[in-house]
Assembly symmetry: C2
Homo-oligomer: 455 residues x 2
């Protein structure tokens, strides 16, 4: 392994140059005008994988293509499936960028560019690790399969069907997803759990048409009032979600998880400061970190009704609407929680109103990894060595990644969320950046991890 | 008077023709492109008043002009100040008009046109009544002052200052405003009270920026939830506004008012049906008619926050906003109720949130007429004779007319809301119409009323 690491050290500049070349292709998946650029990005990856000695092909999906790559060195060796995405968010607002979004620019040890951390930089870590083996004339100690998506920023519409219809081809011993951040700089983090999600649009209707509040005010149950009463009742005074049986299936944290959570380097004070909250809030009896990563949460994500323009309009609107979502944790099943929510909304509906409930998007299962799998320990060691720290942590995250629980179930393999981002890299904002220590540390981690699997 | 009435009967067709000519000028005050048409409308009125033997002039206001007219026949006779407005709402949506909005068209005893009932038709009733006297070669039995506004549909910005700076000139024994509807066809109605209004925009802020509901859900008091809790708490379970001392100054109805209210031809069932409400609602212990005309009411007129576009966005918004208004009844003073509301909102503000309260528009006082004034009785008799019915009613209305309470106070005269519209004439909608029986009945009413004052 020393040969490879020493070769890697010589190649650092080159790897960065290659990444900047990749970043220069504006693969904006949400904008149809960039369809050709998406193709160019996919072809760039195919060419790169082939140049590293792998097989690669573009898989048409009906949307933006998936790039599939393979490095099969020895059928008896372990096989790792790697996920990354080559599409990026639009760069707007353009005027806020200090350097052009598609011209990767290094300042203070950071690479600034759209896609630097989300996810081109993290994807490139894997290609660079493979290249380090190749350039050192060392065979890869394991087999690799790469699935590089072009629709992560626009809903991953075709990813799950692709997984489901290519089970055999994608079979592996574990999957690695590099699209998550460290808990903090210097704290390498393996994300071991994700929350699930259900998302609804609800509408309450009181009357057939907007009414004048002078002529009707006092005789009609304003739907904004009714909706507000319903929303207000969805939490109790202890910050718990007030939907019967919602917590029934929440799996309590193990003693080990609890202890590990308490040891995480997390400051509630800094958390509060970073978002400018007057006061933090939440479920009594749980720390902030527990609340945002291990407990279900309910949020109204949007609300609208009546007159919202400038000035005054004295209207009683005929209806009011809200978008409402619940983050789920193991072992809450989206279908069951959806049923509980729907039944509860009907049960608290004022008799003056009519309710329409519309589920939006596909539900997402919560995910928790079985960290007793030996690969987790090996990854932890690789991170520890590559980042020169004993403080490598396992931590759940509060967000959701739709395909992770499905892949884990479909392929029956552990999914390791081994990401190399940082929390404040502005993934979807102007001046997105990638920490170069994390970029190089990530490559070294993969070299060490693959080597340890081959031993 | 018989001479005049018989003359009037001969002139009916001509009066309608004149009104249609007046209506043909598209005096849309809200659209700057129609500024010339507004001037043309004002000049049309000046010319008409002069042709009837009156004095008339255009009064520049800084906005659209006020037309002031005068018929002073005998300084010893009573003087009536008449209010009407010559501006109209925009006709949109144009495609829904059966006949062109500015080509007055008669179908089934109704004149269809923009402004037919609001307010050109009602304004013309007064000019036609004067003309009936003139054409019968009879002197007007009273003095008349006319104040014809061009900004009623765009906020009446300059009307109140005009009243306040022309107190002497406008001095009269009573004011008549013809811009309100009958309670129902065949039920001539003198509106004896109006509700007042205060209007606020409120904003609650939780954090400095929109947050991802995955990473933060469960640890931040979503401002939509907080705002909903506040709104939900503003009414109690008995439909009363839950703001301390809000009802302290509400003047109870007199026994006479109560009895009169109960006698009004009003069907709660039809009311409910007309608005398509699943169920009516309101303050326990009061009828629907009491609730909408004699009791204060609080309505959120608009609410917004977070993501309101199509599909799902998992955001915890940094803030949420609402427009909120209270209708006031005698003797609630806007300033005092505003103070109670502001103090109460502060007192129920969750400690997690910051509140901004912004008053919108000018407050409006509630109004109630002293119906013991002899003019009310005389107007009632005139209506009874002109409309051939004993069922002439005094009724409060739930809406607000800003200048009425101010004029009543500034000039210290009774304001009679003697309107000739009907509730379903679609004042601001396509195919607005005026009932021609009411048009002619209105003219006859004024002839009879003026005659009785001169006796």
């Amino acid at each position: 392994m020393e040969t490879i690491l020493s070769q890697f050290n010589k190649l650092k500049e080159e790897f960065l140059k290659d990444l900047i070349e990749f970043i220069a292709i504006p693969t904006i998946s949400t904008n149809p005008e960039y369809q050709d650029k998406m193709k160019e990005g996919a072809q760039f990856l195919v060419k790169k994988i082939k140049s590293l000695g792998g097989q690669a092909q573009i898989e048409e999906t009906g949307g933006h293509p998936i790039v599939y790559g393979e490095f099969i060195t020895n059928p008896k060796s372990p096989t790792i499936l790697i996920y990354g995405h080559y599409d990026v968010q639009p760069p707007d607002p353009m005027e806020e960028w200090i350097s052009p979004p598609f011209e990767g620019t290094v300042r203070d040890g950071k690479l600034f560019a759209r896609g630097a951390t989300d996810d081109k930089g993290q994807l490139w870590i894997h290609l660079a690790a493979i290249e380090a083996f190749q350039r050192a004339n060392q065979p890869l100690p394991i087999n690799l399969k790469l699935i590089l998506e072009g629709e992560e920023e626009c809903g991953s519409t075709h990813l799950i069907p692709y997984f489901q219809s290519h089970k055999e081809k994608l079979q592996a011993h574990a999957m690695i997803i590099s699209d998550t951040p460290f808990l903090a700089k210097g704290v390498p983090t393996i994300t071991t759990g994700l929350r699930g999600l259900i998302y609804y649009e609800i509408e309450v209707k009181a009357v057939d048409k907007d009414l004048h509040s002078g002529s009707f005010g006092g005789a009609v149950d304003n739907p904004i009032h009714g909706l507000s009463r319903m929303i207000a009742s969805l939490h109790d005074e202890k910050g718990r979600i007030h939907i019967p049986h919602l917590y029934d299936k929440v799996r309590p944290l193990s003693q080990e998880e609890k202890e590990s959570l308490e040891k995480l380097p997390f400051s509630e004070e800094e958390f509060q400061k970073s978002i400018g909250a007057k006061q933090l809030w939440g479920e009594e009896g749980y720390s902030i970190l527990e609340r945002i990563s291990t407990r279900p949460s309910l949020d109204v994500n949007g609300i609208w009704g009546g007159y919202t323009g400038p000035g005054a309009k004295t209207v009683i609107p005929k209806k009011a609407s809200a978008k409402l979502s619940i983050r789920l944790v193991p072992d809450q099943a989206p279908k069951e929680i959806a049923r509980l929510l729907e039944e509860h909304l009907q049960s608290i509906l004022p008799s003056t109103l009519e309710l329409t409930i519309k589920p939006l998007e596909t539900s997402i299962y919560p995910y928790s990894a079985d960290t007793s799998h030996p690969y987790f320990q090996k990854a932890k060691e690789a991170l520890s060595q590559a980042f020169h720290t004993d403080q490598v942590v396992f931590a759940r995250q509060g967000g959701s990644i739709p395909f992770v629980p499905i892949v884990a179930k479909t392929l029956s393999i552990p999914c390791m969320l081994l990401g190399f981002g940082l929390p404040d890299e502005g993934a979807h904002s102007p001046n997105e950046w990638l920490d170069l220590e994390n970029f190089y540390g990530g490559i070294e981690t993969m070299i060490r991890f693959y080597s340890s699997l081959g031993e």
